[in-house]
Symmetry: C2
Subunit: 118 residues, 2 copies
Amino acid sequence: MQDPSPFASTPEPPYYAVIFSSTRRDADPGYAAMAARMVELASAQPGFLGVESSRDADGFGITVSYWVSLAAIAAWKSNVEHLAAQQAGRQSWYGHYALRIARVERAYAFDASGDATA
Amino acid sequence: MQDPSPFASTPEPPYYAVIFSSTRRDADPGYAAMAARMVELASAQPGFLGVESSRDADGFGITVSYWVSLAAIAAWKSNVEHLAAQQAGRQSWYGHYALRIARVERAYAFDASGDATA
């Protein structure tokens, strides 16, 4: 079951973001299961704050995960099951990807129901 | 005509990212033209480095634009035509959005053709 909101609930900055942009290679039925498992696994990592993800009809996707610290990101990067998924991603799933680690300094939100917060 | 690559060509960090996550309200034929115009306008701003954007079949999208500095982001935010689009976005286009400004500190890329760079 998917989370009903695609937005991550993050605290006041500062915190960190991992911006992962990618194109898929040929459709692989194992990919969706792996991606769901990685979200499950990341969510259980210390320092995980949330994740947002979108992939368009052309196969270009952006996933942004949010973390309390660079140390939390480093620990997630070296998680054994995640390492195996990273290798499979390079071998089979991704045509190209870019990964950027960034420190979130300011955040704003808007909701059409009338709730705008800075 | 669209750029053939959905990836932004960014320099070595540090630089800045504006992470814009949003859900659309009802389909509006004016939206696509506005979005394309904003990319065109942003690309002409001083300090613009590139943009990556994805919107999925459920209407959840992530756009990340890259900039040389916070000052360049502030100038873009206050661009008159962009201000009008921001207002239209809140009035008509977006159900909810989150906007985060982050300083990119590290970046990696991978290409299945064999080119992996850190």
